[in-house]
Subunit: 388 residues, 2 copies
């Protein structure tokens, strides 16, 4: 006879959110996995030990549907009381995939969140519309570049930033490996690059945005964001895989900062490395980024030096725009092996609502970086005109 | 003719750290992957575009050795200038595995960090020795339990905490799903459970530690840690997969908090889900946790409801104690399917330097939770005596 845990009566709203999982196995195996998720992600006890009453009836997850999917897989919709997540992003991620990340053959595919839960998350401050408005670019594709390589001093990076901006690039980000190393310390780098871009903007009449990398120790991220604002940077770059998603959310929610945020996916590749496990590109890089306030989600592009497939990238981009209550849609920003040659294909795949990031090929096109950028801009304009 | 990037001369210390990768493929394929890591993790440009001089010679990673390993794999030791990481944990993780996490067939196996880099990280405040000293338990295995299920109110959780502590459990943690939900709000829960454990300690003369879960929004983690300290909690639980490793480091380094930290691996399972990809248990849960100041690394145990293997768990435990300069060794805390029946096996596998976490079987052994805990303690004592 086991310990008797008290049955309790809970004041629950009745609102539930849904997590959709793809489960490897036949329907019997999938049924077992789905029931296991219901317990593991909430009470973490065998059902026999869960006290009767509201905990058993409403806190334990509930299999809303289970159906066969692609060969060898099933798809389960599992609902959880919104009270299991409270109003914290950290705990929402935990309920959706915490311990289940250690089980095999389970992939989190999508979240369907009711307004009662979404209300806790302001989401992207700018989103697609806000960024287009800042750039006075109502419809066209956006063009971006990155400052690299690591090792250049702030003056050298600022010189590159100036040339990119003069070449009509829309957004220039720090390479995500530029942190606060002695090679190009954050404050000086951010200030010099912001000034260089401002100088170019005065010449071009455009509003190129410079995004310094604020991925940093937890107690310094907000300081770096405020410094960026102070020196006139137009955007921010952050890597939630390194800082935690919630650190990005905190920056996005801070009215003193109020800058568009580019989310970099570094260190998160293992979540999407195996089709049987992890989290879908749609949810990890689309839905989670939007819950955490990103305005741009950098996409690890297919066809180049990474393992991404076209299908991965399409799911990634779809997650940036799928309906999520009041949460704004955000820009996918394909990066990695983007070149002038590939632009017709890139525009076909991603459409106009994308921010294309290029560096290597801009360095390679000829000796004048500014002219190379302008050539890219003209090419994209010609492709768009031909299709209109 | 490409853009000419300036050659620069850098003031480098000459110190380098080493990351060891297991690469899928034959030696030719592994060589290609290793050279790719050298560029991807630093300059992120093709070698032809990297400026001559110190960037090419010292910033680009360097393959120190490449040898065949298990069938189908090679092992590469790649060194990076300590200046690529600066003194920030976020950037160290980035250099070790940032973009490479999106490449296939690459697993980060180990970091070898020189003292010049380790100096930036105080590491565990207590470690094995410190925790043993707090518990006045110089040699024996430690026993732990968790407060669950989610849905119980603070009074019910405190009652469980009291019974566990009276039963001579060493460490009682919140279930990692207890955050700040209305079901059992953090401040009240932490206070009531800390008081309950203090009351039991007065009766037993022991020093059972209660670890409330401070995994929370980024701007609230430190507040929760300070509240825990204020209400007399003896330890803390945090989930770096949700908050980011560096948030844990920040808490560990704060002298106002100064409590032992239990690190929970939820949400990090995808990093270890596939043998060809991700990060080894040794490095992710051993080395990274120690760099980030954890004193206990919760181990997802084998032989139960998770995908872990015995080998995974041994690697996990090895990483908690492997030499890392001044960084203290920490306790592995096997959890998941620990039962009285399995204790002989568990003690053989993990030895005495482990903190065993059990809940389900303590609930199942009989109606009196305190007596069940005492039975566990006696059993472990008998096994130890028989082996002495």
């Amino acid at each position: 006879m086991p310990v008797t845990l008290p049955a309790v009566s809970l004041a629950l709203s009745g609102e539930r959110f849904v997590a959709v999982y793809r489960l490897a196995g036949d329907p019997a195996e999938a049924q077992r996995k789905a029931l296991d998720i219901c317990l593991e992600q909430t009470v973490e006890l065998p059902l026999a030990l869960v006290p009767a009453g509201d905990i058993r009836d409403h806190i334990v997850g509930r299999v809303e549907s289970l159906e066969s999917a692609e060969a060898g897989y099933c798809r389960a919709r599992i609902s959880f009381a919104v009270e299991t997540a409270g109003s914290e992003l950290t705990q929402l991620l935990n309920v959706a995939f915490g311990n289940t990340s250690f089980k095999s053959g389970i992939r989190l595919e999508r979240l369907d969140l009711p307004e009662g839960l979404l209300r806790a998350f302001p989401g992207p401050r700018f989103g697609r519309e806000g960024l287009r408005s800042l750039l006075d670019a109502p419809r066209r594709p956006l063009l971006g570049a990155a400052l690299k390589p690591m090792g250049l001093p702030p003056s050298g990076l600022a010189q590159l930033a100036y040339q990119f901006a003069l070449g009509s690039i829309d957004l220039i980000k720090d390479d995500h490996g530029l942190a606060n190393q002695p090679l190009a310390a954050y404050r000086e780098r951010a200030q010099r690059c912001a000034e260089a871009v401002a100088r170019a903007n005065r010449q071009t009449g455009l509003n190129c945005l410079y995004a310094p990398n604020i991925s940093a120790p937890a107690d310094q991220v907000l300081d770096r964001a405020l410094w960026a604002r102070q020196v006139g940077a137009g955007a921010l770059l952050i890597t939630p895989g390194l800082t935690g998603f919630d650190v990005m959310r905190q920056v996005a929610a801070d009215d003193r900062v109020a800058l568009p945020i580019v989310s970099h996916p570094a260190f998160q590749g293992s979540f999407v490395a195996h089709p049987d496990q992890g989290i879908s590109h749609y949810t990890l890089f689309g839905q989670f980024n939007r819950l955490a306030g990103a305005d741009v989600s950098l996409v690890i592009n297919y066809g180049g030096r990474f393992a991404s497939t076209l299908q991965d990238c399409l799911a990634w981009a779809a997650g940036t725009a799928a309906p999520m209550g009041h949460l704004k849609s955000i820009f996918p920003a394909p990066a990695g092996s983007i070149s002038l040659d590939r632009m017709p294909e890139m525009l076909r795949v991603y459409g106009n609502d994308a921010l294309f990031l290029m560096v290597g090929d801009l360095y390679q096109q000829g000796p004048d970086l500014t002219e190379n950028c302008r050539r890219w801009r003209r090419l994209v304009g010609r492709i768009a005109a031909a299709e209109a």
